[in-house]
Subunit: 377 residues, 2 copies
């Protein structure tokens, strides 16, 4: 990397770490004066009264510049730092965050630390978030894995949070189907969190993408999971909750999906299962659509693509009159009958049978051949 580029990277890395992300004032200053100048002003406290929010937000960390070490740590893991100035910046997906409230952990990120060979903007163009309980049931694991695999096979990128339970099953399903999957972390790109998913995360980094807005060295923390959840929602064309208990982190991602205008699906499960209570609640409250498989989930993400609710075709005998129905019932599955034989079997006068047969023939339910009648097909 050449000198000026290197300087800019250093500035972005410094800005990424100097306030707890997402920090709207730091982003606003960076957009106003550029990353290098913004970093310099923050580092040297050359900030005006108008920048009081920046001063406040960076007060605790401005004096510590770990940007060189952070970039190096990232590169050691095969990662890169991408910013609003990069071609693969997923500006389209993040637009919803810019439009959403900037209060309380909202807003688009300043920069993203990324591991993996895919272009982030491309990979998130057709993507579906699969989220749910860490303490998933074997039913949830099975459904999430199947959903991940089927969606990946159909060309969707599977987005999730890399956690135990539903997240992991969805990632694994996508990998098993040789598809693309993205894990959004609530810690630095150099951390394997949860530790038991080190191999899974390594595999996702090799064949998919690992993404975080936290600089290397950042540890996972509760508020960071909540902040991370908004990225899972924003970077997905639709979000589906596979399992969620009464109080679940997945409900937070679901709330972000609704806030950002992302279609939200939920998978039902046994009413006897505590891990499906949250899903059932979301469906019953009209917050989430009931989805059962990859097809109904994909239909949420591209409602124009196909009809998510094919009208169930009524059975052809559904609206027959009693006499028409009796005639149908009187006809054998195979073979033919004369009108008087049908009349006997249906307990109807012959003229009623003839009238019924005429209507049924028009509707293609019976056929006449040589004066005798049979069921069509």
């Amino acid at each position: 990397m050449s000198g000026p580029d290197r300087n800019a990277r250093r500035a972005w890395a410094y800005l990424s770490a100097v306030a707890e992300p997402p920090c709207a004032p730091v982003i606003a200053l960076t957009e106003d004066v550029g990353a290098v100048e913004a970093a310099d002003r923050i580092r040297t406290r050359r900030l005006t009264d108008g920048d009081v929010d920046v001063l406040e937000a960076t007060r605790a960390r401005y004096a510590v510049d770990r940007s060189a070490a952070d970039l190096e740590a990232c590169e050691r893991r095969g990662g890169r730092l991408i910013t609003r100035e990069d071609a693969e910046w997923p500006a389209w997906s993040l637009l919803a965050l810019d439009q959403a409230s900037t209060a309380a952990r909202g807003g688009a990120p300043l920069a993203l630390w990324v591991r993996g060979e895919h272009d982030l903007a491309e990979a998130t163009q057709r993507s579906i978030g699969i989220v749910g309980s860490r303490a998933a049931s074997s039913y949830g694991d099975h459904v999430a894995g199947r959903l991940g695999a089927d969606l990946a096979s159909a060309g969707w990128t599977v987005v999730s949070g890399g956690a135990y339970g539903i997240d992991g099953a969805a990632h694994r399903g996508a990998l098993a189907a040789a598809g693309v999957t993205i894990a959004f972390l609530a810690c630095g790109i150099d951390r394997d969190y949860p530790a038991g998913h080190a191999r899974l995360l390594a595999e996702i980094g090799r064949r998919g993408l690992i993404v975080t807005e936290y600089p290397p060295g950042t540890t996972a923390a509760k508020h960071r999971f909540l902040t991370r959840n908004r990225l899972v929602a924003a970077m997905s064309s639709a979000v589906v909750v596979v399992e969620a208990g009464r109080r679940s982190g997945a409900a937070n991602t679901a709330a972000w999906a609704r806030r950002l205008g992302r279609p939200l699906g939920a998978v039902p499960g046994p009413v006897t299962s505590a891990t499906s209570v949250g899903c059932h609640q979301m469906i019953a409250d009209g917050q989430a659509h009931l989805v059962t498989d990859a097809a109904s989930t994909a239909a949420l993400a591209e409602p124009d693509g196909h009809d998510p609710q094919p009208p169930s075709s009524p059975r052809p005998t559904d609206d027959l009159s009693p006499s028409q129905f009796a005639v149908i019932e009187a006809l054998p599955a195979r073979g033919t009958l004369r009108v008087d034989e049908i009349a006997f079997g249906a307990s109807l006068p012959a003229d009623r049978v003839r009238a019924a047969l005429a209507i049924l023939e028009l509707r293609g339910l019976v056929v006449c051949s040589g004066g005798t009648w049979a069921l069509a097909r």
Copy 2:
């Protein structure tokens, strides 16, 4: 039973059998001229051109009068024939059938053959229909049994069709909870259908009610199940489908519930289970509400009792900007502050505070009085 009463009973029993029920023309004639006269006219063919529908409908059976034998067979089983003239006639429940299309197996019944000690009108005042697959899974059996027991414990009459699978589990659950349950049959009151439910039906007859519009001796037939289903729906304050495959008889009862304006619920299950496909389809299509237990089912039946879906009102501060939020936070719960005091508390420059206050005042969140500011209300 005295002579005239006996005659009227005989007439009702004859009318109940002389045409395949429900037969709107026979009912209309009976209401016009009374049961005894209607029976006599049909038996002797003293019918005018205006009664051509009656002539047609009764042509196959008018000459056969089994009314005495039918009444005797019913009484032998401890049953009774109730008519539109009896106090326990469930007129209120059946009103919806009179109002619904009388085409195609619709319409209220002429009379009902009943076994059991409860008053039919009373027993159906607070009643919930539980229906579903004959080929239920063990999950469905469990849920239907639990639902039947819990609803019965809460004072609801459990209505179903006496069939294998969900129906049987619901009846058994209600009986186990010492509650009232009603089985609507698609055959005569003297028949045990299905045969494997003979003991269950005997128990329902002892402690609940067995009801059918078919005279004794009538065999179960496919079109009679469909006709019977409308009574299950009509006689229920709400109907819930516990399990249903892609093509299920329960869908027919569900369709009747919707047609009759009865709230319809469906219980979700594993998406991997074929017997839950119909339930999921009904929920996804918006035809049925998702219910998970007796409480959510009962809430369907008496929506005024409690609100099944309290609308989650967004907090008024949900979409504030950071500075607006800081200003709100800086204002005390009681008392007022000057702009410079707010600026100090919020760590914001005064001009930002003034801008934020202007927006907050417009939104009704703060009020200004004599140059100082306070939280609204």
